[in-house]
């Protein structure tokens, strides 16, 4: 069996059936049909499907179509031959034979008369993979960003695909050559004005203290993109990939302000990109009150008041997200009894708008605190909010 150095090879030999087998072994006519078309299907998250089409000359009677490969990781059990034309009355696949110890198979194909058949061979290939990345250029006011989605196809399959159609499930159908060992990156989708929300978050459980002795919290910043049409996205789910973030500067250029791994974001969901810690927002969190009341026997009701003293030293107003994990809070104050926390909000909770019902769950409470900009005298106004909670029906 002939074998190319690396590529899958299709050989066609015509069996002269009236000739005894011993003679056939010595006299063979072999043609090498070239690829007419290649489609690389990369939409599956883990599997690359290659489809190649070849015009295969056949003689009347039985033909051997020998498909072999070397140095490529074709999954042999996935190889599929479909005869696209002519129809099954004229050309039929009879059987497939697998020689021992070889990366090869032999299709026995019967043809009613001599002529060419258009065949499509599909197989799963390892080493040909995709990678997504994003470039975000935010406006100076950080209200919108230019969102560019890039696709990189890495060809480590040890195989040349000089002219290939590429489909990754998002964006359009691409047509690019893929040379061996090459990575080819293309701009897949471009959204010039995506609505952006910048968030500041105070969440002890998730991000910890900036200064524990002073009870000052870390305040991380995020860009939040909602993958929906209202925010000028929402055409496809956003696959995971690295996001490099730039911001437009005053000179018409841009500055790199950080990067993060963007998680897979389904339609209508939010993509959060971590930017780092805000230096100009100071949040001091203290437990102002913690007292238990006996209901009966070992059954208690526990009152907790958490005070947040917040200062915004920025020149712009902003909204701070304040999050509390009530289970962590209960465990800190009363110990872990293994049960979920049954809580009710106290009347002296001061956050305007109260609990955010969309983002809160039974365990994670989310409030918003609007913060004014730094005052004209350069001082930041200290905003004080309280979260009052009853931890109901607690016992050890």
């Amino acid at each position: 069996m002939l074998k190319h150095a690396s590529v899958p090879v299709l050989l066609v030999s015509c069996l002269m059936l009236a000739v005894p087998p011993a003679v056939q072994a010595r006299i063979k006519l072999i043609t090498l049909p070239i690829r007419e078309r290649v489609e690389i299907q990369l939409e599956h998250p883990a599997v690359t499907l290659v489809e190649e089409e070849r015009i295969v000359p056949l003689v009347a009677g039985e033909n051997q179509v020998d498909f072999s490969w070397a140095n490529t990781q074709i999954d042999a059990v996935t190889i599929l031959l479909r005869i696209l034309a002519p129809d099954e009355e004229a050309v039929r696949l009879l059987s497939v034979s697998y020689p021992p110890g070889e990366n090869a198979l032999i299709w026995q194909v019967a043809a009613k008369q001599a002529g060419s058949a258009r065949m499509r061979i599909s197989y799963v290939l390892t080493g040909l993979q995709k990678r997504f990345s994003y470039r975000a250029l935010t406006s100076q006011d950080e209200k919108t960003l230019h969102w560019s989605q890039y696709l990189a196809v890495e060809n480590y399959a040890n195989e040349e695909y000089p002219s290939s159609g590429i489909w990754v499930g998002v964006g359009g159908h691409l047509s690019r050559p893929l040379n061996m060992g090459e990575t080819r990156q293309v701009l897949l989708n471009d959204y010039p004005s995506v609505a952006l929300q910048k968030t500041y978050t105070a969440d002890l459980q998730a991000y910890g203290y900036l200064n524990e002795a002073a009870q000052k919290l870390r305040v991380p910043m995020h860009y939040v993109l909602k993958n929906d049409a209202a925010h000028q996205l929402g055409q496809f789910a956003l696959p995971a990939g690295k996001v490099r973030i730039f911001q437009a500067d005053n000179s018409g250029g841009s500055a790199f302000i950080g990067e993060d791994w963007g998680q897979f974001t389904p339609l209508d969901d939010e993509l959060k990109l971590y930017l780092g810690l805000a230096q100009d927002i100071v949040v001091k969190r203290t437990i102002e009150k913690s007292e238990q009341q006996v209901v009966a026997g070992n059954l208690y009701r526990h009152k907790v008041v958490i005070k947040y003293e917040i200062e915004n030293f920025k020149n712009a107003p902003l909204t701070l997200d304040v999050r509390e994990d009530v289970r962590a809070l209960r465990n800190q104050l009363r110990g872990d009894n293994g049960r979920d926390v049954a809580w009710t909000l106290g009347e002296d909770t001061s956050f305007p708008g109260g609990l955010n019902p969309e983002k809160s769950t039974y365990q994670q409470l989310v409030f918003q605190a609007p913060l004014p900009p730094r005052q004209a005298d350069g001082q930041a106004k200290k905003i004080v909010h309280r979260l009052a909670l009853w931890l109901d029906n607690e016992w050890q």
């Binding site: 499907l49 389904p266 339609l267 926390v341």
Partner: protein, 484 residues
């Protein structure tokens, strides 16, 4: 392997194509002449549930009146010597097997002494079990772009690693489970391991050489197929695979004969069914599919579904979809378990990124608290102005949890989702979702979402804990549950 008729006299008589002069036969100490009758026919009955193949081969011998020693040997193969049988296809009344002998110094050989009452040609059938040949089914399913119908190609692939080339063999495949008390491969090795190491006699060298030559030729013979000397212009059809039921088994017989050299495998189409109606359903069944919502193609192995002519044996099944852009999309590969005629077939395509499925626990509270006076077997419910001793403890309560099962369908098709969740203990499932009990601790309900629709399926779980728990099953309450 070979069958040799040993001529103990000087009278030369050639039966087979090859003649071998044995110089050191275990039977004849002096110069002997033997003939090697070739196989006339061979039939392989291959089981997929065990490493077992029943081989039946026929050969034509020339016998003379009196005792005719026959040597049957199977060097370098995986034949179970305890299974080898000889039967006379014709002249049965005139031929008798006097005995079968297994020589001590030749592990893969036996001798039959056949008593003949006539002179002439006799056809014998030799049958035996061998390991090393197996078959497996595999399937390719291809859905149309709208996912309304499916084309199913079923294949059978025969693997020959038995150490023997089987040329122009009739191949029969058995679907079903059989019981074996000993493995054929172990039996094949057992006698060989009992033998002391010895150098191969000259005859075995010859056999090995002969087999090697035959192997060289076999590939080309196989490539030529078993339809020998057919006119080149005749259009050949794929081999038909006849299916018949046999007791608890199904027997597939491949049309014509096949040549499968040792080490090779061959794949043939068993059947092709087109236009099979399929239903697309989404299911959340963590016990079966893990903690994810999966998408399935549902179909049936019956006549209405253009299937049902045969059970579907175990095998690997690959699912593709015509992507509507003159190409295929790979969807999944799964191991199909045996599907009886009439049974349903579920093709699990995995999670669908276009359908978002999220369970959010929104609120937790407790009530119906039951207090026990410490040191006494006295219980009182909390509330109703009842006074409690300080020295009492919680002995029972109802734990309430409000859930929102959020589903968003971003696909372009309406979808049906079936959800199953299991709860241990004394549980109340409260909702307007029209749930049913799948079993005593599993609730099942369905939701239908139009393309682009989102739904919040609110439900409340009440778990009776401690002394409040009176039973271990689920009670369904059909009442409205709303967002907190």
């Amino acid at each position: 392997m070979s069958l040799i008729l040993i001529h103990k006299t000087a009278g030369l008589r050639s039966i087979g194509a090859l003649l071998w002069l044995l110089t050191a036969s275990a039977v004849a100490q002096n110069v002997d002449l033997s003939t090697v009758p070739p196989r006339d026919t061979v039939q392989l009955t291959i089981y997929n549930s065990a490493d077992l193949t029943l081989v039946r081969e026929t050969r034509t011998l020339s016998v003379k009146p009196g005792i005719n020693p026959l040597q049957f040997s199977w060097a370098n193969t995986l034949i179970d010597p305890t299974s080898v049988e000889l039967r006379f296809v014709n002249h049965a009344a005139e031929l008798t097997v006097l005995d079968a002998r297994f020589p001590h110094d030749k592990p893969q050989m036996l001798y039959w002494d056949v008593q003949s009452q006539f002179e002439g040609a006799a056809t014998v059938e030799i049958s035996y079990f061998t390991s090393g040949i197996r078959w497996a089914a595999d399937y390719t399913a291809m859905a149309d772009p709208a996912e309304k119908t499916l084309t199913l190609d079923s294949f059978v692939r025969v693997y020959n690693n038995a150490g023997e080339d089987y040329e122009r063999a009739q191949v029969r495949l058995v679907v079903g489970t059989i019981n074996l008390v000993e493995e054929i491969a172990a039996l094949a090795r057992a006698r060989e391991q009992q033998q002391l190491p010895a150098s191969l006699p000259e005859e075995d060298y010859r056999q090995a050489n002969k087999q090697a030559m035959r192997r060289l030729e076999a590939k080309d013979e196989m490539m030529a197929g078993s339809v020998m000397a057919a006119p080149a212009v005749a259009m050949m059809a794929p081999k038909a695979v006849a299916k018949e039921s046999l007791s608890e088994y199904f027997l597939y017989t491949i049309e014509g004969t096949e040549t499968i050299p040792n080490g090779w495998s061959k794949r043939l189409r068993s059947f092709k069914a087109t236009g099979i109606p399929i239903q697309v359903e989404y299911r959340y069944r963590p016990v079966e599919y893990g903690d994810q919502l999966v998408r399935l193609y549902l179909l049936r192995n019956d006549k209405l579904s253009k299937l049902g002519s045969t059970p579907l044996p175990d095998g690997s099944l690959r699912v593709f979809r015509d992507n509507g852009r003159d190409g295929l999309s790979y969807l999944a590969t799964q191991a199909l378990q045996y599907v009886p005629i009439g049974d349903k077939i579920e093709l699990n395509l995995g999670a669908d990124p276009e359908v978002i499925f999220e369970l959010v626990k929104q609120k937790v509270w407790r009530d119906n608290l039951l207090m026990q006076l410490r040191g006494a077997n006295v219980y009182q419910k909390l509330g109703n102005g009842m006074q409690f001793e300080v020295d009492s403890q919680v002995a029972g309560w109802d734990e309430h949890a409000l859930y929102d099962q959020r589903i968003s369908n971003y696909s372009k098709q309406p979808i049906t989702i079936e959800i199953r969740r299991s709860y241990a203990g004394d549980v109340v499932f409260r909702s307007k979702l029209e749930p049913v009990l799948h079993d005593f601790q599993t609730v099942q309900y369905k939701a239908v979402l139009a393309a682009g629709e989102k739904k919040d399926l609110y439900h409340e779980i009440i778990e009776r804990q401690g002394k409040n728990a009176k039973k271990r099953n689920i009670e369904i309450l059909n009442t409205v549950v709303t967002a907190p």
